[in-house]
């Protein structure tokens, strides 16, 4: 009970879930073999749209966040149509450039308050807390205060959003669209020759990734009260990429695992905080050398399933190593 009522842990749990959603966003674009470094840019569009709608136009939060996602999607149309025709490296650089352009524009616009960023964004936790008070639990319930209850509900809501996206992605993988994605990832040309409209599917993956990133941005904005252009710079894009690289980009659980590890690790290793970026950098190189498919791959999942169905979990300790 102590764990769930401690605001520090609650905060970390929220960040883990938001990063997991971001992990799904990069998984979606990577599932067609496209490396997009623009997810931080889409995230910032979602975050700023949602925050501005609530602050300036008085939108309710539950409406502004999806609108933020749609805004990111709209931007993906503008940027995606020329760039998805490009091959891997061109796409990576073009999306990287897109992220930079978005950052500079946000830095210079008046409505986004430039380098100072937006503060006083209505928080989901506080508004839920108000609802709870209005329902007559002003002194809290279940031994928790109103604030703790509010935070707890936020975690539940975030988990539900995450669960929805995971479910969606898994259903997608088994559908005609998912199969097309996998075919494009395995061999672009062979897929095209087999009659798959590769451009359309790549664009679709790009859209979906942007939408999910926009939603994650909106959620992040309404949890932290404050957003600034620095939150969505190049380093953010690389961090999102790391989730997929560390966890594994072939299965949806990979980026989820990556985001959980990479969000909780800095909290555990507080003393090594100054070396955090250095460790991240070295980790990318080491992963690429020894296990480019990430910690979790399709074989790992299959092995685990076999082990579990034979009810011998004790032997399943070191599977991650053996599969490579």
């Amino acid at each position: 009970m102590d764990f769930w009522s401690n605001p520090y842990y609650q905060q970390i749990a929220m960040f883990i879930i938001i990063n997991a959603i971001l992990g799904i966003s990069i998984y979606l674009t990577l599932s067609t073999g496209q490396l997009s470094l623009g997810n931080a840019g889409f995230m910032s569009i979602g975050a700023y749209t949602s925050a501005l709608l609530t602050i300036k136009a008085g939108f309710p939060i539950y409406l502004s966040i999806p609108v933020g996602g749609l805004a990111a999607c709209l931007m993906a149309t503008v940027i995606g149509i020329p760039t998805t025709r490009l091959q891997g490296i061109y796409l990576a650089i073009a999306t990287l450039g897109f992220g930079e352009v978005v950052r500079v524009i946000i830095l210079n616009l008046k409505i986004t308050n430039g380098a100072l960023g937006l503060s006083g964004i209505p928080s989901i936790g506080v508004s839920i807390g108000k609802q709870i008070s209005a329902m007559g639990f002003g002194n809290g319930a279940f031994g928790l205060t109103v604030q703790q209850l509010g935070n707890f509900s936020v975690i539940v809501i975030l988990l539900m959003v995450l669960a929805f996206f995971v479910f969606f992605t898994m259903r997608l993988n088994n559908s005609r669209i998912g199969r097309a994605f996998a075919a494009i990832k395995a061999d672009d040309h062979a897929a095209e020759v087999s009659g798959i409209n590769t451009t359309a599917y790549k664009l679709l993956a790009f859209f979906l990734g942007a939408f999910v990133a926009g939603i994650a941005g909106g959620l992040a904005a309404h949890i932290t009260f404050y957003i600034g252009p620095k939150d969505f710079a190049y380093h953010r894009a690389v961090e999102i990429l790391l989730f997929a690289v560390l966890g594994g980009s072939n299965v949806v659980w990979g980026p989820l695992l990556g985001s959980v590890i990479l969000t909780s690790l800095p909290e555990i290793l507080r003393s090594a905080a100054v070396y955090r970026e250095m460790i991240y950098g070295a980790l990318l190189v080491v992963m690429m050398i020894f296990r480019p498919e990430g910690l979790l791959s399709e074989e790992t999942i299959r092995l685990w399933k076999n082990k579990l169905s034979r009810n011998t979990p004790a032997k399943a300790v070191d599977v991650t190593r053996r599969t490579s």
Binding site: I93, A94, E100, V104, Y234, V238, L284, M288, P292
Partner: protein, 293 residues
Amino acid sequence: MFWQQVVNGVTLGSTYALIALGYTLIFGVLNIVNMAHGEIFMFGAFAGLVLATKFNLNIFLAMAGAMLAGAVLGYLMERLALRPLRRRASSHLAPLISTIGVAIFLESLALRLFGPQAQSFPPVFPGGLLDFGMFKISYVQIMILAISFGLMLVLRFGLAKTRLGKSIRTTAENIETAGLLGINTGKIIVFTVMLASGLGAVAGVLVGLAFNAVEPTMGVTMGFKGLAVLILGGLGNITGAMVGGLILGVAEVFTVAYGASSYRDAVAFGLIIFLLFLRPQGLFGSQEQQGGR
């Protein structure tokens, strides 16, 4: 006013061209975009700065030292982060991600070693200025122009005429055929990475002199500009990198001069996103060379 801006733009553009050449050389031979090039550039600038301030070396010697430091960094990167990947023959995204890792590592290392604040070179040729009436040009600008165009000419000539240059071009054309023809492609790759990194480091010192500021974050910003030039000129195209650099330099200076100074950093990528609509292979790229196809 106009001609003054052109001079400033060409000076700035020549340094961009030098950075972009590093990207292009590595792309040509290895078919990867070296995302750590900007950080090697930044380390070169700091190496030059330390040599010039702590050891009181002449600026030209400091530049040579920086070039050496850049080459050493390039060697280490090739050895530790690129060669192991080539052995495994993994996907084409792996080296890109691996060099991003090197970039993050180097940037945060520079933050630890040199601190976050901008530092400046001791004044070179203080007050030296030539006045042509239509425009003025400082001795520092002349030096930047002379060194970067000099290096570009040497490189151009070296690649076209010397044995080593021909080996590099053969390796870039087709690495397997080059190996069959008796070229030690492993050595050529190492040499090319070192050459590109050395050029990047010299560009670092020149940019440090031009802006009179050297800081750890300059690697990312200038690295991005180099990438933009790379796309602008066409991947793996030497002429494209040179011309693209000059175009970007002039475009940026004019953006600043005519009002939109705060959008300066967006110009580069605005330019390439626009270009990608019209000519995805870049200004000088050929159709079939597109993105490692």
